[in-house]
Symmetry: C2
Subunit: 226 residues, 2 copies
DNA sequence: ACCTGAACACCGTTCAAGT
DNA sequence: ACCTGAACACCGTTCAAGT
């Protein structure tokens, strides 16, 4: 007996799934817990989605869809690319665990394909081979997904190390940081002491990486033109 | 009773783990199956490794260690970077599922830190901020890991779609490819028809992406110098 | 020091049966 | 058409007990 006789539809399964991802993360996400949240039994979910994987695919596709809707394509191709990827990032930031979902999803869902197509369109007039365009788009997409993934991992690790003493993972990390047997300067340690690790996932770092890739694509086009 | 009285050591647990990853992939990897392969009971593994995650961390660290050993640092910084990342890629290709292992591992293991340090050292003399150096290295590392990950996914999906008719995932994919409701040219479809998707994971694509990022870093340094 | 047996608290998924 | 109960074949991990 369901509370308030609420209808179980694909749409509110999806809504509950986002909620659950928000609450417990993707590692602990289970079909049983999702069913609990909806006040139904776990096997019922399988009438609406043929597997957990296909539910995840649907969620990933929703992210792609929203990114597409939020995109505004204006200005030069560099600007278009920059803004589009920034939009993708903000959408990934909005939906919990969406970077992981996109990462483990093969881009076969329709909206994901349209997203890739839109990125390819921006580059289509550049004087480079199709193969190079493809590489460029893959590079950009991987970048934004991996960036948000790292951020998530960083937060998770920080949270886990929060209440530990010197014997914990934090202590081990600091120790190996100090004792790195490297020839030449211990650059990592220097950066750690400059609190640079706190910047992981920051807007500033995001922009830098994105600028690197776009400048690289630009250079590729320049070389072809000769 | 173990065959041939073989000693169970961390080293041969690790060896067996690589074997198991090779045989069944990371999705189906389990501590019980690993124990079977070693002819011991699953709980015995927990005397040597405190968790599955820590075993995976150790494996990831081995990959970093080998990449470090294989690296030869010669030439200009662009060349050093290019060669180093290429070496990392070849090592990832050698160890089964190592891209996934690196992806889900936070770089706290010593050799992984040394690896990052080595990459940072290559950039250390460039006239850019520490933050930019850090972004650059993160960009490169994410690139090579994501590249090999995509390749693995692509193979997995292709294998799964192998023996399916029009009704299967392949049919669905082709259909949505044809029917993409896009404004402007369907670039994705064009590329598919040019067999460009088969190139995913190719050496050629790898080089292109790597060149893009390194050219981008180069540009960053040039801008700072003014 | 190193290993096992039994158990705990979970999974994803299937399927006959219910309404 | 949509949902449930019971079950299958698994997981990771703990822990008292054995040698």
């Amino acid at each position: 007996m369901r509370i308030k006789n609420m209808q179980i539809t694909e749409q509110n399964i999806i809504k509950a799934a986002w909620e659950l991802l928000e609450q417990i993360g993707i590692e602990d996400f289970s079909m049983r817990k999702l069913a609990d949240l909806l006040h139904i039994q776990a096997p019922s979910l399988y009438w609406h989605f043929k597997s957990k994987q296909s539910l995840f695919q649907t969620l990933a596709n929703e992210v792609a869809k929203e990114a597409l809707q939020s995109a505004k394509l204006e200005g030069e191709w560099e600007e278009q690319l920059y803004d589009f990827v920034a939009v993708i990032r903000s959408v990934i930031g909005k939906y919990p665990c969406s970077a992981q979902l996109l990462m483990r999803t093969v881009p076969s869902e329709p909206d994901y394909l349209v997203l890739i197509n839109s990125l390819l369109q921006i580059l289509d007039h550049l004087p480079v081979s199709d193969s190079d365009k493809f590489s460029s788009v893959a590079c950009l997409l991987n970048y934004v997904i991996a960036f948000e993934l790292d951020k998530y991992e960083q937060r998770r690790v920080n949270a886990a190390m929060k209440d530990e003493g010197d014997g914990g993972a934090q202590g081990v990390f600091l120790q190996s940081l100090e004792n790195l047997s490297v020839e030449g300067p211990n650059v990592v340690r220097r950066m750690y002491h400059d609190h640079l690790f706190r910047e992981v996932g920051s807007d500033n770092m995001f922009r830098t990486g994105l600028k690197i890739i776009i400048a690289g694509i630009s250079q590729l086009a320049r070389e072809q033109q000769l």
